[in-house]
């Protein structure tokens, strides 16, 4: 059964590391739901959060292969762990008119989202939160007309008291 897996990769900051990772997934025909990565507090180390929809067995195999990359320091599948703070960030552009503007602003308030730009016809707003919150926000905006949005994809950090940094 295919289900969502969120995988955190800690890798060396080397040229081509993303190509190695995506190549490995492509060879096995995996689709990447989302991927986000950036340098960490150690400029030699890069952290990537990957979201894949695959079977448990396929994920087990691919995490082993990812681990095998020489530049990989660590791979964890956090899907079944609850000691992680997982966040996503979104910027979304919604259509508004005289009648709907106040409703949309009210929702933005409720979600503690932040308007970035407002015009006669559109509102652009940003929001961060867990994935469910982001999904729900998009859903609620849909009836007004969502022109487009960009999502960051998930990224995560361990809670305190967790040796699995």
């Amino acid at each position: 059964m295919k289900e969502k897996h969120t995988i955190i990769l800690t890798v060396m900051n080397r040229v081509g590391i993303l190509a190695r990772i995506s190549g490995l997934l492509a060879q096995r025909g995996f689709n990447i739901e989302s991927v986000i990565g950036a340098l960490t507090e150690d400029p030699d180390v890069y952290k990537i959060t990957l979201v894949l929809y695959e079977s448990e067995r396929a994920i087990e195999q691919v995490t082993k292969q990812l681990n095998k990359l020489i530049d990989t320091i660590k791979v964890i599948d956090i899907s079944h762990k609850n000691n992680y703070i997982i966040r996503e960030y979104i910027i979304i552009k919604v259509k508004v008119n005289q009648n709907t503007r106040s409703d949309v602003i009210e929702l933005i308030d409720v979600f503690k989202a932040k308007p970035l730009d407002i015009s006669q016809t559109h509102i652009i707003t940003e929001l961060s939160g867990n994935v469910r919150k982001v999904d729900r926000f998009i859903d609620l905006m849909k009836p007004y007309g969502v022109s487009n949005y960009v999502r960051s994809g998930e990224f995560a950090m361990t809670e305190f008291n967790n040796e699995n940094k």
Partner: protein, 578 residues
């Protein structure tokens, strides 16, 4: 110091004394460096694929890292098959390729190909060097990665301008720092204990060993384990030679063309102890049918192999030698029992066979068997790919590890001649024999000239059946004898459809090429026969000759390799031939 000199010094620091390769615009500075040193034995092959396979053959017999140097673009792409071949057989080679000048990277410059992109999925690791100062560090890492853990090919791409740059203070690192690469050598003792228990509880234990035993030099530990426990043993093709072929408790090779006893034993065992193997599909057949009745213990240094193809009840990540050593200390002695008797009975009742007595034509198996009379246990055998490869796995008397060079994982036709050449270049005093087919030999036949000019003493045996025999065999057995695109003598006179020369009196049967003439044109001694009674004489003359020889045996055209487990069938559904 110049970049090219730094590269040479870095290679010398890795104890490199032999290099295979081919020059071109972007590596002239490197070759210029070789011009001024006598510390490197360099072999100019006639094709970059030859250089890559030669480095592979060299690595297999010397157990050192094989090195090859080629130019950018077509030189680099010509090594691709050699790199993939080394990856699938876990052979440590370092391929250094020139690259266009740094400033031209990514501009489709003359002879630019993206070597790191091309080799990403077929190398163990790869590098593009961007700063001349990094040459020593990267060369050190490349060699370290190639030979440690599960070995494999590493490629290093170097823009030509770096070779000419000067550096003042060159620093050579003394150790590598690779936080992400720490192979686990020692097996988890708890897991080893579990295996010890499993062995004492098992009624029908079976050892299934492979190339990992040879790579980790674990043959002594293996022999000791078998002596102590009398566990019947089967070996993959990559493992051949880790046990002498006539060892007690040894059944032979399982799989598609494996012996009956080995396949039956896998089907019936209740504990399968896999050591340094990867459960290749040519061994397992359909995975859900493989070793159905068995608990599986899997010892391998590569964690990604464990559970990849077959679920492991007792996974042990570690080096085969280290784990077997620990196992030997803990395991209880086991006496031969009914299970041993049963496997021996299978073995005795189902020997490999061929019937030369009732054939007027030379049978390929007969030639290989005869070769056994002319070798020592130190003889190195190389093969190409096809029926002759399977027959040499079956009928050659494998005695020692690192003496059987064959393309197991990739099945690369054209591997044999350059690999044999690399092996002989590494060990000039040892006898090196190549078994090839009339198809395979033509895929790197240009290296005959390299043999002759450098007096590389390889004895080539071509078993000429006029067909791409292994493919023809599948057509014969499973495709209604439609010999489509497998006859190497097919020519413009032939009928559109052909079911083979046996059924066709008008078969033009053109003998092209004349391999003996090809050999002689290249300065290699050539011998040929199609007569059974001359086989021994030709072998004697060829094998005793001082220098490279090509011996061609015109053999029975439609002989098939048996036993055969057809693709997709279970291991005990075996075709035995007549």
């Amino acid at each position: 110091m110049k970049g090219s000199k730094i590269l040479l010094e870095s290679l010398l620091k890795e104890n490199v004394d032999t290099i295979f390769g081919y020059p071109g615009g972007s590596v002239i500075p490197i070759f210029d460096e070789f011009y001024n040193t006598n510390k490197i034995k360099f072999l100019l092959t006639r094709h970059e694929q030859g250089a890559a396979h030669a480095a592979d053959g060299y690595a297999r017999v010397t157990q050192k890292v094989g090195v090859c140097i080629v130019t950018s673009g077509p030189g680099a792409t010509n090594t691709i098959t050699g790199i993939a071949n080394a990856k699938l057989d876990s052979i440590p080679i370092v391929v250094i390729s020139g690259q266009v000048p740094s400033g031209n990277l990514g501009t489709d410059a003359f002879q630019e190909t993206d070597m790191v992109g091309l080799t990403r999925s077929i190398s163990k690791h790869n590098y593009l060097i961007k700063e001349v100062e990094n040459i020593p560090k990267i060369i050190k890492e490349a060699f370290y990665i190639a030979k440690n853990g599960r070995p494999g090919p590493v490629t290093v791409d170097i823009p030509v301008d770096l070779m000419m740059q000067e550096v003042k203070n060159v620093k050579y690192p003394t150790k590598v720092e690779l936080p992400g690469f720490k192979p686990n050598i020692k097996g988890n003792p708890k897991q080893v204990d579990k295996l010890v228990n499993a062995i004492s509880e098992a009624k029908k234990p079976l050892l299934y060993i492979g190339g990992g035993v040879i790579i980790s030099k674990a043959e002594k530990e293996l022999v000791e384990l078998i002596k102590k426990t009398n566990i019947p043993t089967v070996s993959t093709m990559m493992g051949l030679g880790s046990l002498p072929y006539d060892s007690e408790n040894y059944l032979g090779m399982p799989g598609m063309h494996g012996v009956v006893s080995a396949n039956y034993a896998i089907a019936e065992c209740d504990l399968l102890i896999a050591v340094g193997v990867r459960f290749d599909d040519r061994i397992t057949g359909p995975r859900d049918t493989f070793a159905k009745n068995s608990v599986v213990a899997h010892i391998d240094i590569d964690p990604a192999e464990i559970g990849k193809n077959i679920f492991a009840d007792i996974p042990i990540v570690g080096d085969a030698k280290s784990v077997l050593k620990e196992l030997n200390e803990k395991v209880k002695n086991r006496k031969k029992d009914d299970w041993n008797k049963k496997t021996e009975k299978w073995k005795n009742e189902n020997p490999l066979k061929y019937d030369q007595k009732n054939s007027k034509k030379i049978l390929p198996q007969f030639v290989i068997n005869k070769v056994n009379e002319f070798v020592t246990d130190d003889t190195i055998i190389a093969t190409d790919v096809g029926q002759h490869q399977m027959w040499s796995a079956q009928f050659y008397h494998h005695q020692k590890p690192n003496r059987y060079l064959t393309s197991g994982g990739l099945g690369t036709m054209g591997y044999g001649l350059p690999a044999a050449m690399g092996a002989s270049f590494g060990f000039p005093k040892k006898q090196v024999i190549l078994f090839s087919g009339d198809g395979s030999i033509q895929m790197n036949i240009q290296e005959l000239a390299t043999l002759a000019l450098n007096n590389i003493n390889v004895k080539i045996i071509i078993l000429n059946n006029s067909f791409l025999g292994m493919v023809r065999q599948w057509q014969d057995l499973f495709w209604n004898k439609n010999y489509s695109a497998t006859c190497l003598r097919r020519n413009s006179e032939c009928k559109a459809q052909c079911k083979g020369p046996e059924n066709d009196d008008d078969c033009p049967n053109l003998y092209i090429p004349d391999f003996v003439k090809v050999a002689e044109a290249n300065g290699v001694k050539g011998l040929r026969t199609d007569k059974v009674e001359e086989v021994e004489k030709i072998l004697k003359e060829g094998l005793e000759y001082d220098g490279p020889v090509l011996m061609e045996f015109l053999v029975e055209k439609e002989e098939n390799v048996y036993p055969m487990v057809p693709a997709g069938k279970m291991n005990n559904q075996i075709l035995l031939g007549d």
